[in-house]
Amino acid sequence: MSEENLTLAEVHEVADPMRVIQEKLRACMQCGTCTGSCANSFAMDYTPRQLWRMVQLGLTDELFNSKTFSLCSSCYYCTLRCPRGLPLTETIHALKQLAVAKGIAEKKGARFYQTFLDTVRRYGRVREMELMARYFMIMKSPMLPLSFTPLGMRLMIKGKVSPEMPKFFGPGKMDAIFRKVKELEASS
């Protein structure tokens, strides 16, 4: 069987995540409806339409160096309007997952989400103040917390967040679930 004739299920078996993404976008005809619908394309280096073309052509270096997918705010306008019915927002998420797996994800976004999930693993729920505290510690940037200080202070005055100190050691509430997910993903 030639590579061209692989079904989506067979591509999954090959287990190359980039191939799965390419397969999903094969029907993209470059009409640009996604770009015209994107809330954030004004700030991107490559437009969404250009990004899909880079996926199709396998230009992975250019792709992962672009700021485009870290600027997606998941508004789902492109998914809604795509005349081919392609799952474009989900494709962005898949690219973000791949960037993290390859260790090339944009630092700020990836670390924020990693920190987020770490508080979920530990407590089951997100504690907003702790999330931000951990994020600042990981980013090690003295200016970053300052830019959020006025909001943090106002939230504290309103009693919406409590200045709890994060716990860094000991078992987490959702350790078993996170461990099992990792195990299954490693074996697939």
Partner: protein, 297 residues
């Protein structure tokens, strides 16, 4: 009418007033909310950027908690991101054959399982479809006449999974606002993005988006929201947006159930109006007048 109530993490913290006011309004309407003990985070927008399976397992865990409660009802979810995530599970089960098995293999770690079939509904859908403007109007004690409200739907309450309203030009909030005796601010920004999580990671981009929304809301007394993320982006950065835009763009931003509660005659404390970041003096004065109306009735 009864629903499983999934408040989600934000409604325990920065969006506490959304939680309290939703419960107060539902109580006034005689609707039973069944809280799930031991519910956990839905994964928000974080899980989907790191692991596909985790982004399914986290919401599915909550559906599994409901499944073992032997109650035949839908989920009612006020947070748009939670709504998207919980609904996503069932939306994917049909097209992904091995998914349910994988989810259950993980959930088995906590002796939980899910077989699909529980409906996840956004608060706005329940208000507009199940309850409806007539039932709301019947509970109004003091019409919010003279109040002009800009209905803001945001993204994930409508897209990709809606079904109860037009995902581009939504209008289901309008009859609800009119049922309160208030006026709808005519604008075409109701379904536009507020910038969501970019406010944390790409602030300058998100500020552009909120700025466009606040400008279009000029002329309204307040914006009504149905999402804690939209609320936060619209109400917490008004000073910065005004500075960048070179004009005063401050406006009150209230959660829809807070406005419904005001018309029902509930007190500021019942609706936690004091917790909103953007609650202008002019709106405060207007709402105080309505309350005077109630006591004199």
């Amino acid at each position: 009418m009864k629903y499983f109530y999934y408040s989600g993490c934000s409604l325990e913290g920065t969006a506490l007033e959304y939680n309290i006011s939703t419960q107060a309004v539902m109580q006034a309407l005689g609707i039973e909310l069944i809280e799930l003990e031991d519910w956990t985070c839905c994964g928000a927008s974080a899980a989907e950027t790191l692991s596909e399976l985790l982004s399914m397992v986290l919401p599915a865990r909550n559906l599994a908690l409901a499944a073992r409660m032997d109650q035949d009802c839908d989920f009612l979810i006020p947070c748009s991101a939670c709504y998207l995530n919980l609904r996503k599970v069932d939306e994917h089960l049909g097209s992904d054959e091995g998914l349910l098995e994988k989810i259950n293999e993980v959930l088995n770690e906590e002796e939980l399982s899910y077989q699909g079939g529980i409906k996840s509904r956004h608060l706005l859908d329940v208000l507009a479809t199940d309850i409806g403007p007539e039932m709301i109007k019947a509970k109004v004690k003091r019409e919010l006449s003279g109040l002009r409200i800009a209905p803001y739907y945001g993204c994930q309450a409508l897209r990709p999974y809606g079904g109860y309203d037009d995902p581009e030009q939504p209008s289901c909030m309008e009859p609800l606002i009119e049922a309160l005796g208030a006026e709808v601010h005519p604008w075409r920004m109701g379904a536009k993005c507020c910038g969501a999580g970019l406010m944390t990671t790409k602030k300058e981009v998100a500020i552009e988006l909120t700025s466009a929304l606040l400008k279009a809301a000029k002329g309204a007394d307040c914006i009504a929201t149905v999402c804690p993320m939209c609320q936060m982006n619209l109400d917490s950065y008004q000073k910065q947006v005004s500075k960048t835009g070179g004009e005063n763009l401050s406006i009150s931003v209230l959660y829809l159930p807070q406005l419904i509660g005001m018309a029902f005659g509930l007190g500021e404390e019942d609706l936690k109006l004091g917790l909103n970041m953007a609650y202008t003096d002019s709106l405060k004065a207007k709402l105080a007048e309505y309350r005077v109306g109630i006591t004199h009735q």
